[in-house]
Symmetry: C2
Subunit: 191 residues, 2 copies
C-alpha cells in the first residue's frame, strides 16, 4: 500500500495546528515561535520542521483546516441575494480569532517573498475565483451589464474585507457585510 516505515501521525499534525492557532490567539503572531508551538503541542521541533518550513506555513494550514466549512458560495439565481448571503457568511466566519489568524498571514506575506507567492496564488486567488464565479453567473443572467469588469467588483469586496481585517477601525459585523454588498451592487449597476 503506502511506503514502508512509520506513518505520519495525524494526531501530531492536528495538535500542532491547534497549538499554533491557540498561541496566535493568545499572544499574537509576533510572539509565535516554532519552539513555542512544539512545547505547547508536546512535540519535537523536528516533527514540525519535517512537514512545514516556516511558522507562516503552519498558520496557513491551520486557517485552511478551520475553514473547511468556509463560506460556500450561494447560487439562488438572484445576485443581490447571493452577494448579501455570501458576505453575511463571510463576516460570521470571521471571528476575532480567525481575524487575527488572517491578519497574521497577510503580515507574514509582507515579510517573506516566498510565502507571499504561495499565499497569493493559493489562498487569496481561490477565494477570488469563487466570488468571481458567482458574479459571472449573474452576468450571464443579464443582472450585470456585459461592459462591467467583474475583476474590479471582486477587488472591491476583498479590498474592503481585508482593510477592515487589518486596520480594525470598525467591527466586522453583519452591518458591515451589508454595506459592502450594497456598494458592490451599486457598482454592478452603474455603467
Amino acid at each position: 500500500m503506502a511506503q514502508p516505515g512509520r506513518p505520519r501521525s495525524e494526531q501530531a499534525r492536528r495538535t500542532i495546528l491547534a497549538a499554533a492557532a491557540k498561541l496566535v490567539a493568545r499572544n499574537g503572531y509576533g510572539e509565535l515561535t516554532m519552539e513555542g508551538i512544539a512545547t505547547e503541542a508536546g512535540v519535537s521541533k523536528q516533527t514540525i520542521y519535517r512537514w512545514w518550513s516556516t511558522k507562516a506555513e503552519v498558520v496557513l494550514e491551520a486557517v485552511n483546516e478551520g475553514a473547511a466549512e468556509m463560506a460556500a458560495v450561494p447560487d439562488s439565481g438572484s445576485l443581490a441575494d447571493d452577494l448579501r448571503l455570501f458576505l453575511r457568511r463571510t463576516v460570521d466566519a470571521t471571528t476575532p480569532v480567525n481575524r487575527r489568524l488572517l491578519a497574521s498571514l497577510m503580515a507574514a506575506a509582507q515579510l517573506d517573498d516566498q510565502f507571499a507567492k504561495s499565499f497569493r496564488t493559493g489562498f487569496l486567488a481561490s477565494r477570488r475565483r469563487e466570488l468571481r464565479g458567482m458574479l459571472a453567473r449573474a452576468q450571464e443572467r443579464g443582472e450585470i451589464a456585459a461592459s462591467v469588469d467583474l475583476d474590479q467588483l471582486v477587488e472591491v469586496v476583498y479590498a474592503l474585507l481585508w482593510y477592515r481585517i487589518l486596520v480594525q477601525h470598525g467591527p466586522l459585523d453583519r452591518r458591515f457585510g451589508r454595506q459592502v454588498a450594497d456598494s458592490v451592487l451599486r457598482l454592478s449597476r452603474a455603467a
Copy 2:
C-alpha cells in the same frame, strides 16, 4: 535655551532613517534588524534605542520623512478633478520602494499591538481625514447628496489602495488610480 548637554545629532538621525529605508528596499522588512541599521548607518545601537524603541518606529519615521512632499489634497471646486488628481499623485508617490515601506508598516502593525495603535491613530487616520475633507467640501457644494456616507467613500479609496499595496496582484499605476477614482465617483452619485 535648550537643556544642557550635547544636543541630538541631526545627521545621525537622518543617516539612521536612510539606512533603514535602504535595507528594507534591499532585503525586505523581514530581514531588517536593529544591528543591521546601526552597522549600515555607522552608528551605535544605543543611539538608535535612545530615540526609537522598535524597528517599526524607525521605518514609520522614515516614511513620514520621505512623505513630506506627500500628495497634498487638491481643491479645484470639482470633485471629479480633485479625486482624479489626488489618486494620480498618490499612485505616482507610491514607488516600489515606498510600496515596500508601507507594506512593512502594515505588517508591523499586525505583529505589535502597541505599534498598531499609533499607526492607526496617527498615520492612517490623518490620511483619511485629508481625503474626507475633500469629500466634505464637495458635499457642501452639492456634488454629493447629503445622504451619502463620506466615511464609506473614504474607506473604498484606502481599502483599494492598501489591498493593491499588500497583495500586489496588479500594478499601482495611473490606470489603477483612474479606476479607483471612477468607482468612488459612481458610488458618490448613487443613492
